[in-house]
Symmetry: C2
Subunit: 458 residues, 2 copies
């Protein structure tokens, strides 16, 4: 490491003091001129009412879901207490990566992997479990892709003494056997999806025999169980407005840490599956952009195998494969789209958060897609210099941050780049092994495949 | 969580600022009246000279190994830079655990798992890799039990561009396939031990066919390769004085964090395999005790299946099964002792650090042993309230800290208990699964087994 870098007055890791921590979530929608389109009842095509949504979701969460005018929500004391167990997460200056790339760019990453669930998902899991408990429920159902959300929700439910039923996308269930065991440590039950335990699961298995599953399938099963079991509701780890609200804690902490040292970023980069991390990370920055107070280059990174922003269509679609959920207006590949079994299990969702979709459609952010072998190459390079073993999902952001830093090397620009490092890859060693053994393939859907899937939009 | 606890002025996590971080390692031996006994040449039974040791270890590390009078060693700038990537580690106030146990005790843990290697081992790995690089070596060899040390060393070698050959205890190699893959991410080669790749490995396999290995076997193999390959030296993650010196950073940070808030602990508890974590954690506290400045109840916790302190003999013994290493005076079960395949892979060493052995023999600390099923029960209880998924090794300290806190509940004493949480259990899910499925057994050696092993002391 060069003396100049080591001697900088910016610490390697910026941690906020407890009194500097956010006490409110920020509701980005309040500052949007073009609001995200409402969820529609698939039968009537009318906006879903609070009453309708309350059959599926907890009441408080329905309020948060529908509120696009209140800019801030107080974080309940019990959630703040829980956050203290693992927050603030560090904002890390990637001095070693900068050295390795010999870039004039200044790179920061907000590392959300320093908790047992291994990712940012815990931020919303604890909020949703809290409201379920407050409502007096027995338990919740959910789906999980890579297993990060399921693990996070298991931890949160264990904390509040709630039962937790997890439907896990089959490809992840098989690739990540130990994820299941972590959820068991926290007392959850885990079922590979699609399964024979639900009507919709059986239908999907009949229609697509041998399918490795998708988030869309797993959502359908979890919703079916929640709505047919007394004292249960369904909770979701991404896509929804409420999730972006809870995840705004990532961006609020990031901004507070940057402000503390007078740092103004030029670019904010995040991986995007359903949008939970990206929406949370960019929230306060996008807010400034919407209010005309500042400008930022905001970049969503998605896998080339599941490119909803870059190759999808902006339209109303089902949130789930089984078509039991409301319709959401979003960038989508079609709810029947089942991506190739790539190794970023958390980025295999066919659609994208309505809020982010609207912002993207309004030209307030851009998106790029990257193939997974390049993502793993970036992940390994990052691991060797920065120490952290990144999750494949997070590594999508790493890849593009590194690409941008290399561009700075060419142009001589001293851009400040902030990216979201959403989690760790401890449960992704099967994927790393494939990469090492040269057995990992890139899969990019053809235009015909996407067109065929999109043609089935409702 | 009760308001009273939440409202305490002690933060959940105490992080030191960069300018509060230790800049020197503390050499506990300088304050010991009864110095640890020197390593002996197994042939001549004379103390090993620096020259003799330099055939196996790096020169600077030999100096550190033999120096029992210099109280402080400056930490080289490059190591301080690396430490900044993951240090300071947090000192956590276990408010939730206290609530769960309804104990008046105040419990703190120093959490060393917040780095990719997942344990405290990185503190010494980076130091040893640094000195190897400084000496111009091509690479290093080592052994690893649970895989924590091997992972840590792989990361450190990758950082300095050194080759890294790891001999991994066979039972861990089989139970933790993904550990191998993490080491591969960092470019290391990993061989299950005992193996056919060394003379000593072949001998051990002949003598104990079907053995699941031990640290003692793996050490022999790694030393053989280091001493027979040009440009290589052997490095060890525990037991040695140099390792305790590097690991003193744990205790120094802990003490600085406690002092910052005017907290004086009553008890310091650490798990003990070879002694690296325990020796590091207690260093400055034991120093005060040795100098008569303060008193602490210092407790080593070991597995009932490998009870070197509580049931071993204080005598000169080989550090390795193959008897290629020097003799060390230590509490030992005999270098031929191969413990049952318990799930705390890092606590399967037949002996104990000479420094800690001397302190224990002088009555300056005490030791307890605990069976693994009770350890896993404590681990799960801890995970559910404190969030962190602990390594089986670390959970030995958790178990005893919880026992002590429960005693406080009975007596009403408001003791302040500090324990070392050395690492995370992400790669121990096979063990957790066995525990969940009721398939985990406790193994306690008979007096006859121990006597038979000790009878073979040199």
């Amino acid at each position: 490491m060069k003396e100049s870098k080591a001697m900088s007055n910016i610490p390697y890791k910026i941690y906020l003091e407890e009194n500097e921590m956010p006490k409110r979530w920020y509701n980005l929608r309040a500052d949007m001129k073009n609001k995200p389109a409402p969820l529609l009842n698939p039968g009537t095509r009318q906006p879903m009412t609070a009453e309708e949504l309350s059959g599926v979701f907890c009441e408080e969460l329905v309020k948060q879901e529908l509120d696009d005018t209140t800019p801030f929500f107080e974080i309940p004391e019990d959630i703040l207490s829980f956050y203290k167990m693992y927050r603030p997460s560090p904002l890390v200056r990637a001095y070693c990566l900068e050295e390795k790339l010999k870039t004039p760019a200044k790179i920061y990453y907000k590392f959300e992997g320093n908790n047992t669930s291994g990712s940012h998902k815990l931020n919303s899991a604890i909020a949703q479990a809290y409201y379920a408990k407050k409502q007096g429920l027995k338990g919740v159902t959910t789906e999980t892709g890579a297993g990060q959300w399921g693990t996070a929700l298991s931890m949160a439910c264990s904390y509040f003494g709630l039962d937790c039923k997890v439907y896990m996308v089959k490809v992840s269930y098989e690739q990540k056997p130990f994820r299941r065991e972590v959820m068991r440590v926290y007392g959850a039950s885990v079922t590979p999806s699609p399964s024979e335990t639900t009507k919709i699961g059986r239908q999907i298995l009949e229609e697509y025999p041998g399918t490795t599953g998708s988030l869309g399938c797993a959502i359908s099963e979890a919703v079916e169980v929640a709505t047919s079991t007394d004292g249960y509701r369904y909770v979701l780890g991404s896509v929804l407005n409420q999730v972006l609200l809870h995840q705004s804690v990532i961006g609020l902490e990031t901004k507070a840490a940057l402000d503390k040292f007078g740092i103004k970023p030029d670019m904010i980069i995040g991986c995007a599956g359903g949008g939970s991390n990206l929406g949370g990370l960019i929230a306060p920055f996008m807010g400034e952009k919407l209010r005309g107070e500042a400008d930022y280059d905001i970049v969503a990174v998605e896998p080339a195998s599941c490119p909803s922003f870059t190759r999808g269509t902006y339209a109303y679609d089902f949130c789930d494969t089984g078509k039991v959920c409301p319709l959401a207006k979003m960038y989508t590949l079609g709810s029947g789209y089942i991506p190739a079994p790539n190794h970023a299990g958390g980025l295999r969702y066919h659609g994208m958060s309505s809020t982010l979709s609207q912002l993207y459609d309004d030209g307030l952010m851009r998106a790029v897609s990257v193939p997974q072998t390049e993502v793993f190459a970036a992940a390994e390079e990052f691991a060797r210099v920065e120490g952290i073993l990144p999750a494949p999902e997070s590594s999508h952001a790493i890849k593009v941050a590194m690409d941008e830093a290399k561009k700075c090397k060419e142009t001589g620009e001293e851009k400040t780049i902030v990216f979201g490092l959403t989690g760790t890859g401890y449960f992704d060693m099967v994927a790393y092994e494939k990469y090492h053994d040269g057995k990992m393939e890139d899969y990019v859907p053809t235009d015909e495949e996407i067109a065929a899937s999109v043609a089935k939009l409702p």
